[in-house]
């Protein structure tokens, strides 16, 4: 089972001014999960878009099943058994699951679409994977996870030999991710070669047989899947892991934000009490859907509060709108930057300055001062080390890491006293992480209260003075000092043992 199903040699792709891929060799065996690992811009996306036929290389060869091939397009790649599931879905939202599954090869009879056969084919395909999704449902009514399932079912076809998954768990809850992992393992068992892109160490640990590390468009090395995290990060960045997290300052004592018995209308948070103090970094740990994010959002007026209070510097702000909460010096960094953070088609400057336009250098009375605004935004982008630090480029044109740094810069620009950071490093490469961690620690050092809601355990372990652990909407532990360790946190995350088991089954 170790013959290569796909082999590329000396693959090169040049854009004006940039070499996105520089003579990269890559080999995928039958029945292996092969992770691609690297910072944003390392060449992972270019590599998979060439393998899936979406882009053409400037040099190098591609062999599929031992034969040299020319991938003229996505359809040609598919014909050779290569399918890709990209982060952007290719489903038609207003059509049914069944119609989407057969799209492009609808079975017909006398020139008409045979609806009954479509439905039967779709049901068979879904059952094969154990997906319980009705074929008649419209795609737009599915959750993101279910859409992902359909996307994967669509990618699987009888002749499938290479499956490409681009950060497939980015939008899934932990439970949904579990189902995806099971599916990947089953595909591996069937002898399919899987190329798996992820930023998450835990997934590499869990699934990968081998890991290929790319940096700056070049192949660094290919190593076994059980290579230690520290070594992988070292290979990817040329940095050691201890360098990632700066030293924490001594926390203050003044309470900046306090929640008492907080309960949201939809029950996502129940009877949670916590406080954020000046100069302190507090972590919210928990699984996806545990209420850790909803609790932060409720403090910022983004969730309907049913009971309990939120006070900021002694002032009651329970159920206040975001605008009012911001006036009290609280700012929230959303976890979904594309939906809730950025004005994608507008210059990045507008995203950065929008909440603070009223402030002195950017406004004179009722009028804005565009020159000053540009200078303020440019300074902030340089401070956050964006590349390029050009505030007039559309937000959409920046990579994920740069977008996140821009959004954090927007929060910093407010010079607030309390920062609620929801997954501040989601989908961000290690280089950008270092900058983000530095800024978070600098905020605490300057006396602000900082909340870090995070699904990344290392962040909770290394970046926080104090940690609240959430499980099923409730706070199950408050940990300080030596108690902030992996074992204790995980134990409290699973605290509500019984419902968790029921949910999975």
């Amino acid at each position: 089972m170790t013959e290569p199903v796909l082999r590329v040699r000396g693959l090169t792709k040049k854009y004006p001014g940039v070499t996105a891929l520089d003579r990269v060799d890559f080999e995928l065996r039958r029945g292996e999960v092969h992770a691609l690992f690297g910072e944003n811009g390392a060449g992972k996306s270019t590599l998979i878009s060439i393998i899936s036929g979406a882009q053409h290389p400037d040099g190098g060869t591609i062999e599929v099943g031992g034969r040299a091939v020319e991938l003229s397009g996505v359809a040609a790649a598919r014909g050779l058994g290569i399918s890709a599931v990209f982060q952007e879905f290719s489903l038609m939202p207003t059509m049914t699951v069944a119609e989407n599954l057969v799209m492009g090869s609808e079975p017909g009879r006398f020139g008409f679409v045979d609806r009954r056969r479509i439905r039967r084919l779709a049901r068979e395909r879904l059952e094969e994977f154990g997906f319980r999704i009705a074929p008649d449902r419209l795609v737009e009514t599915l959750s993101r996870a279910e859409q992902q399932m359909v996307e994967i079912a669509k990618a699987f076809r009888p002749e499938l030999s290479v499956l490409i998954l681009d950060e497939p768990t980015a939008s899934l809850t932990d439970e949904e991710a579990e189902r995806l992992f099971a599916l990947v393992e089953e595909a591996r068992g069937r002898g399919i070669g899987i190329i798996y892109i992820t930023h998450r160490m835990a997934e590499i640990r869990r699934l990968a047989d081998r890991v290929t590390v790319l940096r700056d468009g070049r192949l660094v090395t290919t190593v076994p899947g059980d290579t230690p995290d520290e070594q992988l990060i070292n290979l990817m960045t040329g940095r050691v892991v201890e360098d990632l997290y700066p030293e924490l300052p001594v926390p203050g004592t003044g309470v900046m934000l306090a929640a008492r018995g907080l309960t949201t209308f939809d029950g996502s948070v129940r009877n949670a009490s916590f406080e954020l103090r000046a100069g302190e970094i507090v972590g919210f740990a928990g699984l996806m859907g545990s209420g850790k994010s909803a609790a932060a959002r409720a403090c910022f007026g983004l969730e309907r509060v049913d009971a309990g209070t939120v006070t900021v510097a002694g002032q009651d702000l329970t159920g206040a709108k975001p605008a009012a909460v911001m006036k009290s010096g609280v700012v929230y960094l959303p976890s979904d930057r594309k939906q809730e953070g950025l004005f994608l088609e507008r210059p990045l400057r507008e995203t950065v300055t929008l909440p603070w336009l009223r402030r002195a250098p950017m406004s004179a009375g009722p009028l804005l001062r565009p020159g000053r605004e540009r200078a303020v935004a440019g300074d902030m982008l340089r401070r956050m080390r964006l590349s390029p630090a050009d505030p007039e480029r559309p937000a959409a044109s920046y990579s994920g890491g740069n977008q996140q740094k821009g959004l954090l810069g927007r929060a910093l620009l407010g010079e607030c006293t309390t920062y609620l950071l929801d997954e501040p490093t989601v989908g961000v490469d290690v280089g950008a992480r270092v900058t983000i961690y530095e800024q978070i620690v600098a905020l605490a050092r300057a006396g602000s209260a900082v909340l870090v809601v995070s699904s990344e355990l290392p962040e909770i372990l290394h970046l926080c003075h104090r940690v609240y652990v959430f499980s099923h909407g409730q706070i199950t532990a408050e940990l300080i000092g030596a108690d902030i360790n992996e074992e204790t946190i995980l134990r409290h995350m699973m605290h509500w043992g019984e419902p968790a088991v029921k949910d999975i089954a």
């Binding site: 854009y15 004006p16 001014g17 940039v18 996105a20 944003n40 811009g41 060449g43 992972k44 996306s45 270019t46 878009s49 899936s52 979406a54 882009q55 053409h56 996505v74 990209f86 982060q87 952007e88 681009d166 910022f300 983004l302 709108k321 975001p322 605008a323 911001m326 006036k327 929230y332 959303p334 939906q339 809730e340 953070g341 950025l342 004005f343 994608l344 088609e345 507008r346 507008e350 995203t351 929008l354 909440p355 336009l357 009223r358 406004s363 009722p366 009028l367 804005l368 565009p370 480029r393 559309p394 959409a396 044109s397 990579s399």
Partner: protein, 343 residues
């Protein structure tokens, strides 16, 4: 380099690359204007004369003003299909108020009262639209389609379908035919409206809020911006601009007409889109909307001079609109590629 958008593969020829960058930067309109000018100048000797250009601009100033109103709503990601009905209702109510007031007071007072009533009616119509869209969350397309029917019904009901005549002659003299520095009053007012809107959109916070709500309502909310107040401003401003255009048109034709402006919804949306304003909201400049409206005017004027049948003119307008939408799509796809460094 890492954009996961495999749909656009970049051309590598430097000439094509230059053309693509230019297209992304300035859009399709300058090309269209140039083509139209050359074509019409060769078809008719009268086209490029000072008098014709002036009269074309004056005729066009009404559409320019209405387009500005449509444009501000498009920026929020909405539509205003009621813009024609508002024009009709304003024309009728301005004329009726003026005629009634003229019986008891001086022409100047009557004209001012008429204009005030017209402006209030126009902005009131905008307010109704805004309340439905911003507070009851009705789709702008449906809401303004519904109010379009209601407003034009109201205009017809008020007049029983008969034009309102007997307006003070001063009204038409001042606002319809008068010239300042050799340029017609409607042109001045259109220019003032454009400059005023430019100031609002680029130099004030409410203007920035309009762009941000159109670009991403959720992100705007998280930035502490009130979507309700922003939409209210946009729709009321659109109603006010429609009212200004309607008052000027009423002065020009010297009657209040309940069937005025029927083609405005299509014309104004077409003008804005041809100018490069995005139908998805959040992007477009005042100058784009103005040039789009002027272009539509040039085409209409040129075809009139070339004595092209008005039925053909409608076909041409439709074709140009469809073409502009295709160009808009292409442009936003190319923009991604250009910024990703692929072109």
């Amino acid at each position: 380099m890492t954009a996961t958008s495999p749909a656009v593969a970049g051309p590598r020829n430097p000439m094509i690359s230059l053309a693509a960058r230019g297209f992304v930067k300035i859009g399709v309109l300058p090309v269209l204007v140039l083509v139209a000018l050359v074509v019409f100048a060769s078809m008719s000797d009268n086209f490029l004369t000072v008098e014709n250009i002036h009269s074309a601009l004056r005729q066009n100033s009404y559409i320019v003003i209405a387009t500005l109103g449509q444009f501000i709503v498009l920026l929020t990601g909405g539509f205003d299909l009621s813009i024609g009905a508002v024009t009709a209702l304003v024309s009728v109510s301005t004329a009726m108020a003026m005629v009634a007031q003229a019986e008891t007071s001086s022409p100047l007072t009557a004209v001012l009262v008429g204009i005030a009533v017209g402006m209030l009616v126009g902005m009131g119509c905008g307010l109704v639209n805004a309340l439905g869209i911003a507070s009851m969350n009705i789709n702008p397309f449906i809401m303004t389609l519904a109010t379009a029917s209601a407003f034009s019904g109201l205009a017809l009901m008020l007049t029983s379908g008969v034009p309102v005549s007997g307006l003070p002659v001063e009204f038409s003299d001042w606002l319809g035919f008068n010239q300042i520095l050799g340029i017609g009053v409607p042109i001045w007012i259109a220019a003032l409206a454009a400059v005023g809107l430019w100031v609002l959109l680029t130099l004030t916070r409410p203007g920035r809020h309009i762009y941000s709500v159109g670009s991403s309502p959720k992100a705007a909310r998280l930035s502490g911006i009130s979507e309700f107040r922003t939409l209210l401003l946009a729709y009321v401003a659109a109603g006010g601009l429609a009212a200004i255009g309607s008052v000027l048109l009423t002065a020009r034709i010297e009657t209040g007409e309940a069937n005025l402006g029927a083609s405005l919804p299509l014309q104004t949306i077409a003008a804005a889109v041809i100018g490069g304003v995005s139908l998805r909201g959040g992007s477009g400049r005042v100058i784009d909307a103005v040039l789009g409206a002027v272009f539509i005017g040039i085409v209409a004027n040129g075809m009139n001079l070339a004595q092209i049948n008005s039925y053909y003119q409608m076909i041409v307008t439709g074709a140009v609109l469809a073409l502009a939408v295709v160009a808009d799509r292409l442009r936003s796809r190319l923009a991604v590629a250009v910024y990703a460094g692929k072109v």
